[in-house]
Symmetry: C2
Subunit: 238 residues, 2 copies
């Protein structure tokens, strides 16, 4: 455990801080009623996330596609999914607005109280593959009390590239060991640990819905495990 | 006037948001008493700012020196000034702590109430030559309610380079005309205007002390003039 020397906590956002799936489904259902389309919104949300973001980032990381922002990646897939799911008749500004549902995701219930406590003791920032504008707009709307916004966009790389993790201590004027990554995803924490950051695992068993896959168990290399951000604040003495 | 389309306000910080001179003098006086040195702290502060920051940035912009952060520039000059002003006996951690007085500057009295009002209507961010950690730490300590931190460090250039001004709309996902620069310095606003940003002038007649030089008058190219941030909020309907 390195909490004695930790000065800043940086957070994965999609899934860790906010419920992307529930938020996309909820806005999708509203949109579906407005355009009178019967759509399987959970499937739509899962495809948007997996094909449009996770897979697209993997291609960029393998050098098979040039860097593009999360907003751009989301939009490319959205155009395809509207077609695939038979959603027609949306004007350009409606499509653009729906694409930015990713700027309007709802935090998990413990996120705001937990972050507010943690902020009293630590510098807190996102460290997300979401683009800078997306993270800024999301925080403003949801009231996430970040001290600053750190996006992988600032390095034009994507997690789990080492350079992204190292950008956080570099920008904050800290050593890597003085920064702790908080995430619901073990591969993100492995990347952070490999770059010398501390690691905190907060499982989000509902990220992929009530029937989602069982989450992997954290190994002994994780510094802190907490069931939510409020428990994380307690564990870290905040 | 472009306020109808402005979505974000970006602020010069040193002099515009915070009273750097008064803050440095105040901490200097405390330090002087602790080490029993008689120092002309107003002269010390002015030399630190002018020689250590303004002149050093001009050299970097002319290509005569490699890029270095504000913290680094401040520290180089501090080492020289401690010698010049005969301040001896400080340990390394005391020098480092005093160097970071620039992270602890006090806002002008209208800054917090004005920014709080402006934040309800606009995205608000610094756009400063101060480094990212400096701006983050300053905001946390002083309670500046920024939505994000934008530092010239992110471009490794310094204002008034065009690239620095353009980084704000690029990161915020906006057009240059949707972003308004707020500054107490006309050369900063000229740089912003040349890059296509809106401009707001807030004079800070006490920036250089009660005997400081008279500030230049804003010309007709400035979009908004306000005597402080509260009046700026009124002018912009926030």
């Amino acid at each position: 455990m390195v909490s004695g020397q930790v000065e800043a906590l940086v957070f994965d956002v999609f899934g860790t801080v906010v419920d992307w799936r529930g938020s996309v489904i909820q806005e999708g259902e509203k949109l579906g009623r407005a355009v009178q389309s019967e759509v399987d919104w959970p499937r739509f949300a899962d495809a948007w996330r997996k094909e449009g973001y996770v897979d697209a980032i993997a291609r960029i990381r393998r050098g098979e596609a040039p860097w593009a922002s999360a907003d751009e990646l989301h939009r490319r897939k959205l155009d395809e999914l509207l077609e695939r799911f038979g959603i027609r008749g949306l004007a350009e500004d409606e499509i653009d607005r729906f694409n930015r549902v990713w700027h309007r995701l709802t935090p998990w219930p413990d996120a705001l109280p937990g972050l507010t406590r943690l902020k009293a003791r630590f510098v807190i920032s996102p460290l997300s593959n979401g683009n800078f504008a997306l993270l800024t707009n999301m925080a403003k709307r949801a009231g996430l009390p970040w001290d600053c916004i750190i996006s992988a966009e600032l390095t034009r790389k994507y997690k789990p590239e080492r350079e992204v993790y190292l950008s956080a201590p570099a920008l904050l004027g800290l050593q890597p060991a003085e920064v702790m990554m908080v995430a619901a995803h073990l591969n993100d924490l492995e990347g952070a640990r490999a770059a010398g950051l501390g690691t905190a695992f907060v499982p989000r068993p509902l990220e992929h819905g009530p029937d989602g896959p069982r989450q992997a168990e954290p190994g002994p290399s994780i510094d802190v495990v907490a069931k939510d951000f409020v428990e994380l604040a307690e564990r870290l003495g905040a």
